[in-house]
């Protein structure tokens, strides 16, 4: 589950470093991408490509492992066998996706343990929506359906990107997410068309989550040199606004058809087919992503506790002769 390609944390005026790259190798690299071929780990690649992809895949992986926590909150309380088993399977999948994505990022040279270390030490970012709590079962359902729906919009786009290992991981993740989306929709529909208690619970959860959902894809992209290069290299596959529009177009009608309302009086599709909405509070978004959200501290503390409590197990399993090499693909 993941939102924007996070180009928003690149300083717009930063140097691209391209002037230091070998022009012949760079031309071959760009020609390969232009032909529609994937880049594989041992190919030559510009530093900027390696750096940006590492950051992006790593943040995506963090979003999966942290993203397992808000739904994990309801894992022991899911009502009935069907929901209980599916909730477990879904949370498990998020951990599985983190595993796949960390592996893809590792092929670029950063070890998984370094990435996890950066995460628990607060040095890395992850999708901002997971810094909000899930106070009720219905909140968990909203994530299962709509946050995963947003993630799929993004992941389907990124699966057409240029880096082979990331594409392989995303192909598998998208196939697995098909279950998440249907499960989430099923749960929300049961609540929204259910008893008065269920309907109220679901509407309140949706009201709580809608502002965060609207920020899921990130602010409008500033069209910098960086963004242009990353799009040419098929690192960034669609603008944040395009993803947001696609999401609204696919899901707002599905939300409305089950009698739920959205807490934005300005939300509507205009005659050109473009969705209009109230501008999200990007100042609040920045404040939360920089650490001051309702659950940032908890998310990191929990991940850190998992690492610390598991340390003795890993220490015991470590073989002295073991040699780490990067995964191949």
């Amino acid at each position: 589950m993941y939102g924007s390609a996070s180009t928003h944390d690149i300083p717009a005026k930063a140097t691209t470093g391209l002037e230091n790259e070998d022009p012949i190798l760079l031309a071959e690299f760009e020609a390969r991408i232009a032909r529609g071929e994937k880049i594989e780990p041992t190919d030559w690649m510009p530093q900027l490509y390696r750096k940006q992809l590492t950051r992006m895949i790593e943040q995506h992986a963090h979003s999966e492992i942290i993203g397992s926590l808000p739904e994990g909150t309801w894992i022991t309380r899911a009502p009935g066998f069907r929901r209980k088993m599916a909730q477990m399977a879904k949370v498990q999948d998020e951990v599985g996706h983190a595993q796949l994505l960390y592996s893809a990022a590792e092929t670029l040279g950063k070890t998984r343990e370094q990435m996890l270390s950066d995460l628990v030490n607060g040095k890395s970012k992850y999708s901002n929506v997971f810094n909000y709590p899930t106070p009720t079962w219905a909140d968990s359902n909203v994530i299962s359906w709509l946050i995963d729906a947003g993630a799929i919009v993004n992941q389907l786009a990124n699966a057409k990107g240029s880096y082979g290992p990331y594409c392989r991981a995303l192909d598998r993740i998208c196939a697995e997410e098909a279950f998440h989306l249907k499960y989430g929709h099923d749960a929300v529909v049961h609540m929204a068309t259910g008893t008065p208690i269920q309907r109220k619970m679901m509407q309140e959860a949706l009201n709580r989550w809608w502002p965060a959902i609207m920020t899921f894809f990130g602010p409008s992209d500033k069209m910098s040199t960086h963004t242009e290069i990353l799009m040419r290299w098929k690192v960034k596959m669609a603008t944040n606004d395009a993803c947001r529009q696609q999401f609204l177009d696919m899901y707002v009608p599905k939300i409305w058809e089950i009698g739920l309302t959205l807490p934005d009086a300005n939300l509507r599709k205009n005659e050109d087919g473009v969705w209009e909405f109230s501008e999200p509070d990007w100042e609040d978004f920045k404040r939360v992503i920089n650490g001051d959200g309702p659950c940032n501290a908890e998310r990191i503390a929990v991940r850190r506790a998992a690492e610390e409590n598991g340390a003795w197990v890993r220490r015991a399993m470590q073989q002295p002769q073991a040699r780490y090499v990067r995964p191949l693909a």
Binding site: R32, E106, K182, I300
Partner: protein, 207 residues
């Protein structure tokens, strides 16, 4: 104490203030193993991804659930990443065998001692997955690659080749076939189990 909406987290009794940052890198890094699965009987084993594990038997345990829980398979192999010989990558549509330096091919009558079996995997297209094409017998990984060129070099396209000493592949046991047949029963993990259109239609009619 940290207070959470998650009762599991409350039972961990975590302090409110985070503890001192810990650098876990040197301590924890397990080696990686590459995993291949067989989608159905008689299909070629194909690459699915890596796992981190201290040793091959643990890698196998991990690989089974990470790579077979959602999509059924009939068998699985794991090999230490460090034991895999990799050629450079060629362009799509081409054969990477043509880029290999020409070495004398071992004659078939060469001394059989020191000969070992190697498994050969081809990648047909960048971004796709390596698949098993067969075994060769050779005295070294380099010689195995030459033997693979002789045996499978006419296949097109081949953008990358992996060579793995057969002894380095841990393979699932034929006796344990029943371990792999349980996935299709777990319908709750499949999108197709969630059919909600009737309920929506009923709601709209009543509304």
């Amino acid at each position: 104490m940290l207070s959470s909406f998650d009762p599991r987290i409350n039972r961990l009794e975590l302090p409110d203030a985070p503890s001192i940052p810990t650098d876990k890198v040197a301590l924890d890094q397990f080696p990686t193993y590459e995993v291949f699965h067989q989608r159905k009987e008689n299909a070629a084993y194909a690459y699915v991804g890596p796992v981190h594990a201290p040793e091959a038997d643990v890698a196998f345990l991990f690989a089974k659930e990470q790579f077979s829980r959602r999509f059924p398979c009939t068998g699985m192999w794991v090999a230490p990443t460090s034991a895999i010989q990799v050629t450079p990558y060629g362009n799509d549509q081409e054969s990477v065998y043509n880029l290999l330096p020409l070495l004398p091919v071992e004659s078939a009558t060469a001394d059989a001692t020191g000969q070992q079996a190697y498994d050969i995997f081809h990648l047909k297209k960048r971004g796709k997955a390596h698949a098993h094409v067969g075994q060769v017998s050779a005295s070294s990984p380099e010689a195995a690659l030459q033997a693979a060129k002789a045996a499978f070099g006419d296949q097109r396209p081949v953008v990358n080749v992996w060579v793995i000493r057969s002894a380095d592949l841990l393979r699932s046991d034929d006796e344990d076939r029943d371990m792999w047949t349980t996935t299709p029963d777990k319908k709750y993990r499949e999108a197709i189990s969630y059919k909600v259109q009737d309920r929506i239609d009923r709601f709209k009619q009543e509304g």
